[in-house]
Symmetry: C2
Subunit: 355 residues, 2 copies
């Protein structure tokens, strides 16, 4: 991949398989104009519905578009996103493929489904890109509940000036399941709010706790002990076999009475029936849910109507600056890739841990 091995007529072919705003695609072409060719064909991809969108997954190409698309894929060495809705394995569609940069973080289950866990393929993800907006959503929900903004809204509609005594986040304990980049971002903000922060992690010694910025780490076998301390539980773990069904009725019942439950990880982590029951009987006072087992959340889901639930349509991570950040990340990785510094590329998906 060094410049010497890369004759001018053999530019590295980068293909975008999910749509991106035109200015971002143009930036990719502009940084290494002599060394890369960028295939960006909005006409063969779903339209963007909003800034930061990656296209409607139910959109389909016509047979003619599909032929053009597959011809392009055969040339690609680098893909931005795995191609969606394909019947053939990606390495058959794109035999020259060496690297996929994804636009989301939680692509482990996809890589497993595609049978690529042992493939000779670099997968870099957008892990970290979503940490900031997700952390902001966590505190938006926590403060909406904690500072009783619903009460203020009701009193305001009734033009009632009812003074009251509220509560504080300060001094409360937040428990985090999934202390990765997102969890660390949340922990840092929680500490600025003078909360105590605990987390469940695979490695659970004091040094690791300090490096994650949490007051204490618990092992998975101590999950219920940790939950018993939690005024607020934030789930930001990826979907892996280790996290599937992690939180059942018994785990939710271990939370402090009146706890807040926030899920920005994956819906498969929690037993939704148990969560509904806990919200109905008030043992969990409030929940903010960005993810569900079935998405879009079906119109007849009981979650919609619960007054103590805030639903986000899996958009908590999506901000208008997202694609610019993903392109920044991709261009850094592209520099390393073109220089042969594969070990510098980050964040890499661990194909066995799946995050």
């Amino acid at each position: 991949m060094s410049e010497a091995e890369s004759p001018a007529d053999a530019r590295t072919v980068i293909m975008l398989t999910s749509p991106l705003e035109a200015e971002h695609a143009a930036r990719i072409s502009s940084v290494f104009p002599d060394r890369v060719e960028v295939i960006f064909r909005p006409d063969l991809m779903p339209a963007l519905r909003y800034r930061g969108d990656h296209g409607d997954p139910s959109w389909r190409r016509t047979p003619e578009q599909e032929r053009a698309w597959h011809e392009l894929l055969r040339r690609a060495e680098i893909l931005i996103d795995f191609p969606q809705n394909e019947r053939l394995p990606v390495l058959e569609l794109a035999p020259r493929l060496r690297w996929v940069q994804t636009t989301s973080a939680g692509v482990g289950p996809l890589v497993k489904r595609l049978g690529l866990q042992d493939a000779d393929l670099i997968v870099t993800t957008a892990s970290g890109i979503h940490a900031q907006p997700l952390a902001e959503f966590v505190f938006a929900a926590l403060l909406f509940h904690g500072k009783e903004l619903g009460r203020l809204q009701n009193d305001q509609r009734a033009r009632q000036w009812n003074r009251f005594s509220g509560s504080e986040l300060a001094g409360r304990t937040m428990a985090i399941i999934g202390p990765g980049r997102i969890g660390q971002e949340i922990a840092g903000i929680a500490r600025a709010f003078r909360m105590r922060v605990v987390a469940m992690g695979r490695i659970n010694d004091a040094a690791r706790a300090a490096s994650l910025g949490v007051d204490r780490l618990y092992g998975r076998d101590e999950l219920r002990t940790m939950l018993g301390e939690a005024d607020c539980l934030v789930v930001c773990a990826p979907q892996t076999p280790e996290t599937d069904d992690l939180l059942g009725a018994a785990e939710l019942a271990s939370l402090k009475p009146g706890a807040v439950f926030i899920n920005i990880g994956r819906g498969t982590i929690v037993d939704e029936d148990a969560l509904l029951a806990a919200l109905r009987n008030g043992s969990i006072a409030y929940a903010a849910l960005d993810v569900f087992r079935e998405e879009p959340l079906p119109p007849d889901s009981p979650f919609w109507d619960l007054p103590n639930v805030l639903i986000n349509p899996h958009s908590a991570s999506t901000v208008d600056t997202e694609n610019a950040k993903i392109v920044d990340l991709f261009l850094r990785n592209l520099g390393h890739y073109l220089n042969g510094d594969i070990s510098q590329m980050a964040p890499r998906l661990d194909p066995h841990r799946l995050y």
Copy 2:
């Protein structure tokens, strides 16, 4: 004031002039039982309406209660709160008075009105006690707006799963007017959210900016320059002659279009008509107001109906742990006072700056 000078029959008399939960009053008596006498007469004070309340200011004693009350005041050397609704000067009512510990922070105007600016009287305030809950309210409002929780609430009522692209606090600029304890608390949290923080202060060099934890300080003559950088303006200045009418139409027009305005200081700082106009034409996108020129906010105030305003009935600072914290503070000061370490008592009101 040393122990030697304080015979057993001349205990220091502390009188509470605003109500406090009984357990807190009991704590005051318990710490120095041989050296202080605590006068706590709930029967001569308004009832507590909620935890952390300091009583309804419109409540009045009967003439008989009033005589008993004034007799007690004559004995007091230390008051917790200035007595309210008195016709005589406090030093005539309480000729032995040496120290007043207030339960609020912004008592400067009261001290001026009582003519005590030059009195030989120690005034310690509750400055700092309210920093945490006020800071939490600031971010509750900022995140309610920034993370579009109103949109989520509407979509949820309609059972609509409408994905969207939001915005981030990260990278935005917060301007703070009043970088005291409250402002510093807010600045620390804003930085954890990766915001840029600027503030207006009397001293505006880099060393002072660093000690306040802000990226830049502006002098008062640079107010409009600072406002021009502000995605969000937080007013947490006390009411002083310097801050009265600080923000008129021209100042509000200097804010970045679509800015958020949050006032947790005093209503007198801002021209409310100009604020209403800016909210109606959208140049200010959203306001969260805990304070108003007239409180309670009159039922016919146009603020109630504006969809882009969040009204808090001057309760943003009031939390259920407040009185416990005030008593902690008072007891620390009482230890210093009884030991004659007057210089250690804090936070002291500067009778001329009035905060």
